[in-house]
């Protein structure tokens, strides 16, 4: 048996799960898909004293549309990937999901687990930051909503308190005159990417760039937003040159990647620059496609 001993609870309601968290705090780890936690326990990198398995809590699995799309934390990545509401209303998420690992892992891995894990190489935190999603956190004393910008607080760390569980993620619906794109480069499809980004590009009535958001994976200690590159696009006419410049600024000024086993910092910068240009062009094409084929 690989993992160190622990006590296991599988509450059927959120109230019971929150009571366990209130009682045991950090000692009690939530078990969602287990696709990151159990490998870590098999290596004994993680040795939680108590596991609170959330898989029996049906209320954490729903997907609701109500001015935004609210996805329950325990929704599996493959359920979200196949959900028509996600495809229609949060196309960036729909595009990013198949990049997470392999289908066998997405069948167990959850939306909430990936977000709460806050791996700098993961796709979902990047998407959440680019879309300015909000996270619903609950504890015995009530619920609060945390903006993505505050939620991700560094390497594998989030703003969740010891007695809180992440219960849902709220994604804003597609906006008008806005295009989205998710691109990454991995050595093999399903592996963690060497670099990648989520791009959101909005135009104003005159076709000028109203706003851009560029958020990168695996080049910092969390989802990394390139604010200078985004600012360089503001008010500009979208063009290949403007996109190329944005890629240069993002890769040279907004990030100082550490590199990893498969990519040097210079190579990550190169990939980021090229992918930025492509993602912005793709986002732009998608806005114009929508305009001609409503």
């Amino acid at each position: 048996m690989k993992p160190a001993p622990f006590n296991y609870f599988a509450p059927a309601s959120l109230e019971e799960a929150l009571a366990l968290k209130a009682q045991h705090g950090e000692e009690a780890k939530a078990l969602a898909g287990g696709q990151s936690l159990i490998p870590a326990m098999n290596f004994r990198v993680a040795q939680p004293a108590i596991l609170v398995d959330l898989n029996r809590i049906a209320s954490l699995r729903d997907i609701r549309k109500n001015g935004a799309l609210t996805i329950g934390a325990m929704t599996t990545q493959s359920t979200a990937e196949k959900n028509p509401l996600v495809a229609e209303h949060v196309p960036l998420l729909h595009e990013a999901l198949p990049n997470i690992a392999h289908p066998q892992i997405r069948n167990r891995g959850t939306i909430g687990g990936s977000v709460a894990h806050a791996d700098p190489a993961a796709e979902l935190p990047v998407v959440c930051l680019a879309l300015r999603t909000r996270m619903q956190a609950q504890s015995q004393s009530g619920e609060r909503w945390i903006e993505a910008q505050e939620f991700f607080s560094g390497l594998f760390s989030t703003a969740l308190a010891a007695d809180e569980l992440l219960t849902a993620v709220e994604f804003p619906l597609v906006e008008e005159r806005t295009g989205y794109a998710f691109l990454e480069v991995a050595r093999r499809h399903g592996d963690y990417a060497m670099a990648g980004l989520a791009a959101v590009l909005s135009l104003d009535e005159n076709g000028l760039c109203r706003q851009a958001r560029l958020v990168y994976l695996n080049v910092g200690d969390g989802p990394l937003e390139a604010t200078q590159a985004a600012a360089s696009l503001q008010g500009q006419k979208p063009s290949a040159k403007a996109f190329q410049d944005a890629g240069k600024i993002a890769s040279q000024e907004d990030m100082q990647p550490f590199g990893n086993l498969h990519a040097s910092p210079q190579y990550q910068q190169h990939l980021s620059a090229v992918l930025t240009q492509r993602a912005l062009q793709l986002a732009l094409n998608r806005i114009t496609q929508k305009a001609t084929h409503p």
Binding site: M1, P5, F6, N42, F43, P103, G190
Partner: protein
């Protein structure tokens, strides 16, 4: 010490009930407690795919799931594919005919990946098959024969009444 939990599962249609420690991995439960050793263990951290089984019809890694979590669920392992002792499942037949295995260590995981995949995508292209098995590592075959076998399996399944 952690307490044990009683679990009830159905594996390949047969019901089982056991007392298990929570830290028992599902793969070890299937192999050591139930005694079905067709499910293989390579890496024990979700990467190689050798331990892939079906949980309520969906392919999952049994090395990164706890046996307690399978309580009340329906599992299918490679032993559950053939209808009886004398026959093979069409996907197994295809692996036999197209030489889809050498040592056979990765084979159960690949079969269990392909069963639900070919149900959803009965007519895949070669590229799609390569993508579908990208979460299963084989150290022997160079994949070419596995891909051939998967395409042959798709044909066999389609021509079945």
């Amino acid at each position: 010490m952690s307490q044990t939990h009683s679990i009830q599962v159905r594996i390949n249609g047969t019901p089982y009930a056991h007392e298990v420690e929570p830290r028992l991995l599902l793969a070890d439960y299937i192999r050591q407690v139930v005694g079905l050793s067709g499910t293989h263990i390579g890496c024990e951290h979700g990467v190689c795919g050798a331990c892939t089984i079906l949980l309520d019809g969906q392919a999952v890694r049994s090395c990164i799931m706890l046996a307690v979590q399978a309580d009340g669920h329906e599992l299918t392992t490679v032993e559950g594919l053939a209808q009886d002792e004398k026959s093979l499942h069409p996907i197994q037949e295809a692996f036999w005919e197209a030489h889809g295995l050498q040592c056979g260590f990765c084979t159960p995981g690949i079969l269990m990946t392909l069963v639900p995949y070919l149900e959803e995508n009965p007519n895949p292209t070669e590229t799609e098959v390569r993508d579908a098995i990208s979460g299963n590592l084989c150290r022997c075959t160079g994949y070419q024969h596995i891909v051939d076998a998967a395409l042959l399996a798709a044909e066999k399944l389609q021509s079945k009444p």
